[in-house]
Symmetry: C2
Subunit: 318 residues, 2 copies
């Protein structure tokens, strides 16, 4: 079974890692949000891509979920000493990634090729792809501060301003990265990882051609990033609320309406199973919180079995 | 007594540090070679400036003379892991300097202003100035590999190719950095630190206006970087040889002919004292090797006393 997963940062990376631990390497492609990429100190920084890569390579910091394990902070401390901007956490090991990526981008290499080579260097067997080789920027309109580029909202302002809407600037002029449409075309199932629907998954779907190609994948399921009305990490629940939507698995289903035919929800949201099914969705209720490698693998395994069932069901109907 | 010192890398930095430990802060300006500055990974790197600043700030690595003490190498190891170019030693703390400098240069700030602010942050009291706020590039013509940019010759090729000549590209279109000519105009003496005459001092003198202004300083002395026919560090002696010149204090005197009226040479070169004096130079024979802080201060003290004597002598004559 060929699988394409869509992923943003920490939660998506954990699920992608679970899938990578179970599926044969050739059967998994992870398409990663690059809408939160930005330039800082002249370096091109791709937070979600790095989180996914570090996680699948076993290099991620287990306590934060982002950044690298056994990291040092000497460069950032030097910058702080000089009165420079130290709001973005630039670890020393992590800096090496940004430096080498920036060097290669400046030589004209597409991001997807760089990610492929980095993956190989880090011993990642699955195929990891940026959503696009073109720069697409997520901007957040806030009540208090107007339009903010994503990292300014997310890191510098720590998601405090109330959101009004999002824009993925450059998306209309962009193309899917080399390999994205190919992977979707041969996929048996699409798994939307438990990432933020507004700022992790929506940017991926904003790239011309990706959503259309996703819709051709026989089975499409999402894993809810909302558990018991809250997000494990990040501002997803807060965003739903600020946009006037009650943050629940129903809201997640609504976000992906027309795109998915199955939703994976946590046991604490079991009561939503029936209304979701009445709304036409297949539902898998299981433990979706991933606190360790076993949890990641279990969630991946159950989600894959769920997909398999839907695939058989679908084939039975056609 | 107002002093201007011209300095390149490690040897010049040590002497400048000796001067800074003795002179009142307001009386010392160090003009530093920036001809070996280069861009690497998109970062602007100024090896001599950083060596001088780190040394005067007490942050320098005591065993290498360049780079920072208690340095870590995690970023460079990451780059190496990814197959990137690791020929230039980029320490993590050092990287912070390059990142913040690059960020501020990109905002249009002149290098001299950045150096002033960095000096203040690092607690350096003396005035440190780059020779120019404009990019000037030292290129080395070699027998084996043709023209090489300085760092390619110096670090990547480790000074192995035989030199034929040097060019300071961009010098004719450049101006002295803000403050350079002002400092020279009020200086009582000019001290050329024991730096490489070909690639550390010559680039400084190539900036239009600097040499002319140096010649107006009442007393001008150089400390020979050649001791017993050899350089303590770096390719100065090798360069003299490859250019068909016997590397000795006589060769150093010849390099600075017309510019200096005094030369400080090491005790091992005492025999050259008489021929140098016959050639019209005042000579100070002393210990010029600086193995510790005491040596730096002693050399600085003796050189300053030598300058003082020449100043009185000169005043007596006029």
């Amino acid at each position: 079974m060929k699988v394409v997963a869509l992923a943003g940062g920490v939660g998506g990376a954990k699920m992608a890692d679970g899938l990578a631990r179970i599926l044969p390497a050739d059967d998994l492609t992870v398409i990663v949000n690059t809408g939160d990429d930005f330039s800082h100190f002249g370096l091109r920084i791709c937070p979600d891509l790095d989180t996914v890569c570090y996680t699948l390579a076993g290099l991620a910091n287990p306590s934060t979920g982002w950044g690298r394990a056994d990291e040092t902070w000497n460069a950032l401390n030097s910058i702080r000493e000089l009165g420079g901007p130290a709001w973005f956490q630039l670890g020393d090991k992590d800096l090496g990634t940004h430096l080498e990526r920036t060097r290669r981008l400046a030589q004209g290499e597409p991001l997807s090729k760089i990610v492929r080579d980095f993956s190989r260097s880090w011993g990642i067997a699955a195929q990891i792809l940026p959503m696009s080789d073109h720069p697409v920027e997520t901007w957040v309109e806030t009540e208090e501060m107007g339009w903010l580029p994503f990292q300014e909202y997310f890191v510098a302002q720590q998601c405090v301003p109330r959101v009004k809407q999002f824009e993925f600037r450059g998306a209309q002029q962009s193309l899917p990265a080399v390999g994205v449409l190919d992977a979707l075309e041969v996929a048996d199932c699409l798994i939307i990882c438990p990432s933020n629907p507004w700022v992790s998954i929506a940017p991926i779907l904003s790239i011309p051609g990706i959503k259309e190609c996703c819709l051709k994948v026989p089975v499409r399921v999402a894993v809810s990033p909302i558990i018991g009305g809250k997000a494990i990490k990040g501002p997803a629940a807060k965003m739903y609320e600020e946009l006037g939507i009650n943050p629940s698995v129903l809201a997640v289903a609504e976000s992906y309406r027309g795109l998915i035919d199955g939703l994976v929800i946590d046991r604490v949201d079991q009561a939503y199973g029936e209304p979701l099914e009445k709304g036409g969705l297949h539902v898998l209720v299981t433990q979706t919180i991933m606190q360790n490698y076993i949890d990641r693998m279990n969630l991946a395994k159950e989600t894959l079995e769920f997909c398999q069932k839907l695939l058989i069901f679908r084939k039975g109907r056609t």
